[in-house]
Symmetry: D3
Subunit: 308 residues, 6 copies
């Protein structure tokens, strides 16, 4: 197809329809995959450097060595996004994902040798148009979060600071949460009962006029979350990293999700209890406006007007 | 190719070389995959019923509904194994794997809709010849286990009783263990310091003349482990499920790994300390002999003589 | 009123309408109240001895000394039940509650002295007709249980083996659970993720043909649960006390609540997932039939036919 | 009685002697009661706004809706205190308590319906003269605290940030503590061994010239504690919220209890070991003096001279 | 001195007054010492084999290799006891201790080399007359145990199954306990609140007619405790290893300490609450009588009549 | 010997060869010993005041009362160092250790009385030349740290803030670590998986341009670590106390050990993964240079040139 996007897979650029993963790949067999994701604004990538650096930090922790250097990865991403945006409508944006797994366990394909012997990493970079309509209701009604009985995995088992794809517990948490409300989002507590994050975003609250994020012990070091920090401090809010609990969320003035695809969304309920006024609040509006100014488009409007 | 094995994928039998996973499949994206594995002895499957039932129990826990009923899965496995063993040497055996994921996130392929909306499970069954040579040294020197600093994931986060493929923590544990000895196997402790299991097997000890397995709170309900129980009780050993710690392993008379591919292997060291005499012991020999008699071949010899 | 039931309060028998608690009573101020509850079958009390003994064990743990001896308490209960059943319809039954608190903090009433100085226990025994209609749907559809994010209080803070009235966490757990389903019952996990009990009953499962109860570390030593044990063992089922988790409940053949007021009820769903066939099962029927025979009335029918 | 104080109960002002709680009220049956307490200085209430706001935050967490709005509660309290102080001696002060429970379980009174169906909250506001003499020895010898073996309840079971009346664990902790010294006060550790609070006060230490409070994860957000913060910062002390342990208390320069009824008291021993000089220290004196100046009376003298 | 007992130290028998430890010995510097202790009855050693085997198990766990083989250690002990009892009164008995440390850190004495390089273990065996009078009150009033706020060290830090001399936490626990009662003995809870052991003995209870010991996860595998098991089972009592809590001790029929020096002692109070009748009970009497018969002397009388 | 160093033991100065510990001393029997250590630069003691004060804080926690006052201890140390340095080469330095134990259990020597009755503390102060060559490779290759499976002891069992000699867990951790690399140093995690300290030093990282130390909840309040803080802040680095995990160390720019004998050493690997460039970094160089300037000698050179 003429307009088919390209995918980078193991050293080659290829049409998306040719990009497959072997059923014996460690990504399928173990979920031992490290990943990261960035997005465009007006077709150019936001905070690419930060995303790639975090990706390489995750790789180092997981003892997975990307076959190309950081600078080269950056270049591939830029090429890919440039190519894949050429037929994209102006009001649409791309997400770009890179992921790496230990590689194919060729033994499952009948090859001789040890299961893990001589593995070569599987390394893939691909894009997709951001499905904005998925998040429309976040900006109309606000997000409803639910704390499921499933707890977040502690760092001594698998550190949530790496962006990895062993995510069965998030699948379980979200399924459990949807018993209450099919649109609700799971907000996992850690083993001590502290608030952590959702399956796809950092969680923040406005409490006593300060913006609080859970301690980074337990959560992804979100690049959007760090940008919220920057915007919040510019706007005169103190930004604090600290342990907090459901009580603090129930009694917060506002709450937010921060995530690369939709930047920042207002959270208006927890466990069925309204947060603040139970609707998107003024600090959310302030922050999303600043962010929109920075990137030269109205983030909220782009999502609300999207047909994708 | 004439002799190419078949793979069952989403309702179709196809040559293995045609069986791929989309890079947007939940198995790749989330590792939210449930699986199970059985093997043949003399080309016929051992304890198939038990494996399929455990697989369906895992699916129920993970809220993944296999697209075919249990009886049908059994039939597919039997057909596949029959077909795929036809060109297989007499001294080789097959493993058969079934796995299911929530399906393809078509949104990543540019389709409209919610990320999790209308997912259809990806369901795959495939086989591969057991790479016996991988385990030869288990039967010559015995297995060396190491307790890494990484802890096993607790059931309130993700229950180890399901066989799933969110296994990054096992990847990490094994990598850490291999710092001590490249052939060593990680034996994870749980958060309370109890011995649990390895990435691919149950762990048992002979202690004060009884055979102990860790409590099933923390581990896969191994079908091989249950068969060891049967054999042990027939041989007059009491078999007990109980919490135990590294002290007990250090001071055990013998220790074992139980796992579908190689059945039962002797463990002769923990953290560099010899267990018992530091070599495969008489109870191991007794159990593997009984098992071999049951399946009509010498399990240990088949492995030691293998060229694969 | 002629037909007004009597209440025993601090040494006196009085009409129910005269029995009040001071707003400064420790039961109101601290919830530091120990209690127990028994019921009648055909207007005579079931297992009174066991209930009183458990009550005195709870009192001993809580360092509360009932002002009358065990034998005397028994006598008061018998008199009260005899009196209060005299106008009761044949198809109705009484529950009888005894409770004790450290007593009135008279300082709040303006008296001089230390807050805890010279407290005299408040000791009350009263009855009420069992509101059977509350539990009708338990026997029609079965009970639906939900595991809330709220965890059960651990024994080193407050031992769940005593029947006490500091139950705010149960109020919270049940409120949270009712977000999913207003009729659902909270089944709390402990801090390690083991299944414990509900706010008003013990929880049991039928698993691999055995009946399992959570270890008594974490739960009330239910007198109904012990009676189920007796009936189960008579019927040839092994009865085991052991830690188990949500996985085991999801994959149980049947599950039950055991509780004094309704004896035994079938549990047919956990977190929206059907248990076994998703309806009351044959082992439940067997046990409730045996119990009914023992007490000389059809327990299930009495509840289903009740107008109260 | 002419001089009888008024009590507000469920919408009515009534003489104290008429204010009773039904034995079926949720406050008695469950201890599911939310409360707060404020006091007067020179017969006018201190920090009323803060106390009522905290009370409404506790209610929100507990899903209990006061039948009147915050402003109205404030008005009732003011009326009550004005009325109830009219015969009070000049050197005496009132405490005012508000509490709310889910209401009467009328089913226990023989009414039909579900146990929790159609509950109307029980809402009560009452006052009592502060029994200053209870705290005299705090200011003469200083408070002796003991860490009992009983641990504080963790937030994932019941958040200590709400002021509630499920306090059996505090009853137990104080009873255990009094084995060492009948005047000693229990200072509970949390499950990780951090210092938390006492049954009726916040606990603070002076350490390396800074004032430390335990992290607010585990404790009531004390209004007196916050006022100490204000006074301390005014006096040039850094005020830090952080986890600390018994070692830090043993080696503190001074330690304090902060609590509404007596404001601030010096702690001079922990587990029998003197803190600092083992007597009330200069920082205590400074803070209580500042507080006294603020409220226009000598707080310590008022207590020491009290006959109540 | 003629009658001076001998001590075995690093391969030599020497008079006790010559046996010293260097201030740079690992036993002094690290407390990294493994030990065991046995006693005589009528001047002959009881269960020597069991004690030595446990000692060698502890050594294996601690990676300390005794310089002589097990059989040789046995021989040394026997010689030492024979020699050292020769002037001992008939009514007195010896305890014999063996201990091993990693050896002298000669670097502290100014020698060159790595701190741990080329260490040679320090190995000592010595005896002392059992100071029976220390335990007289155990048999007159019974032992009073107190649960201190200090918790037992968990096996993942240091396994209590080894008898080692890093015992500062026991020193702290006993000091804390003696605040309540100078004769009281600390009974430590583990991190989950289960009862474990005292600083010098195993703890057992009689509960519902069975004898319970804490699970051996958390405690020394006491040789006296195992002998109590043997005697209890002979007497028709079921002996169970299980987790239990303070509630169970408070409501036990009897409780006991089992320890090599005094064999078995009745526990009559916990935290100031009487256990059973609050005095030595009939099961204690039965067990100590059986034990006395076995060893050919009245254990209790020997202690009560002792002048040492 | 003329040049024999002096040791202070129980009130007396004596030649080192006369200073012994009884085999019944509590330091040998219990490891219940509190200690501290300081060193000289150019033969004069560094931060003596701080070390002695910390020693007395440890003693207070452990309820051990040094027989001489703080000022006197200081004087003894100064005398000892002055005397013991008189024959010491200019390029060598002394370490000075003080330790205290509860004293000799004379009962083990056959004396009458209770085991703990009338104990008099054993109090010893001694010196030794710093064995610099032990640490040479720290400054050439950098230190390699390994996180063992053994966890650090939590403060509620034994507070790591006191410098005590119940260190069997450190012995175990270091032995386990040396399986990977005989020169590696154990870096223990706490029960929650946070990084704590090594057996002989504080651990710090440079992360995002700040210097981080683990929270002092879990570690010795190192005097060298505090001095690093002072130097770091002078050099414009923010110094933060916070929980961090292995991920943070892997992704740190640099890492350090801080310890009295060698001041500050660069850490260049964790679990076989290079930290930063995998060699001593510029911030290390800056800090050690500042320290060297302060003490008037080149700390690194002194160690690298040492023959001891």
């Amino acid at each position: 197809m003429d307009k088919e996007p390209l995918v980078y897979l193991n050293g080659e650029m290829m049409p998306a329809s040719k990009a497959h993963i072997a059923i014996y790949d460690a990504s399928v067999v173990l979920g031992a995959t490290v990943t990261d994701l960035e997005r465009t604004f007006r077709h150019s990538i936001f905070k690419l450097e930060e995303h790639i650096e975090r990706f390489y930090r995750s790789c180092k922790y997981a003892r997975l060595k990307p076959p190309v250097k950081l600078e080269h990865t950056k270049q591939i991403i830029e090429e890919l996004v440039e190519y894949n945006t050429q037929w994209l409508d102006q009001d649409k944006e791309l997400a770009c994902i890179q992921f790496i797994s230990p590689g194919e366990f060729k033994i499952y394909a009948g090859a001789a040798g040890a299961p893990g012997g001589g593995l070569e990493p599987t390394y893939c970079i691909h894009t997709f148009p951001l499905p904005f309509s998925v998040w429309k209701h976040y900006f109309l009604e606000g997000v409803h979060v639910i704390t499921p009985s499933t707890r977040h995995i502690p760092p001594q088992c698998l550190d949530p600071k790496i962006k990895c794809r062993s995510r069965m517990h998030w699948w379980l948490a979200d399924q459990e949460t949807q018993l209450v409300d099919p649109k609700a989002v799971a907000l996992c507590l850690d083993l001590e009962g502290n608030v952590t994050e959702t399956s796809g975003s950092n969680f923040l609250i406005l409490r006593d006029g300060e913006i609080w994020t859970p301690t980074t012990r337990n959560i992804l070091h979100g690049i959007s979350m760090h940008y919220v920090k920057e915007l919040a401090e510019k706007s005169g809010f103190e930004f604090r990293e600290r342990d907090f609990q459901v009580y603090d969320v129930i009694n917060a003035e506002e709450a937010f999700l921060a995530s690369t695809p939709y930047c920042l969304a207002p959270v208006t309920q927890i466990n069925g209890i309204p947060i603040g006024e139970g609707k998107p609040g003024p600090v959310f509006e302030k922050l999303i406006t600043l962010w929109s100014e920075k990137v030269g488009l109205d983030i909220k409007e782009q999502i609300l007007n999207s047909t994708l």
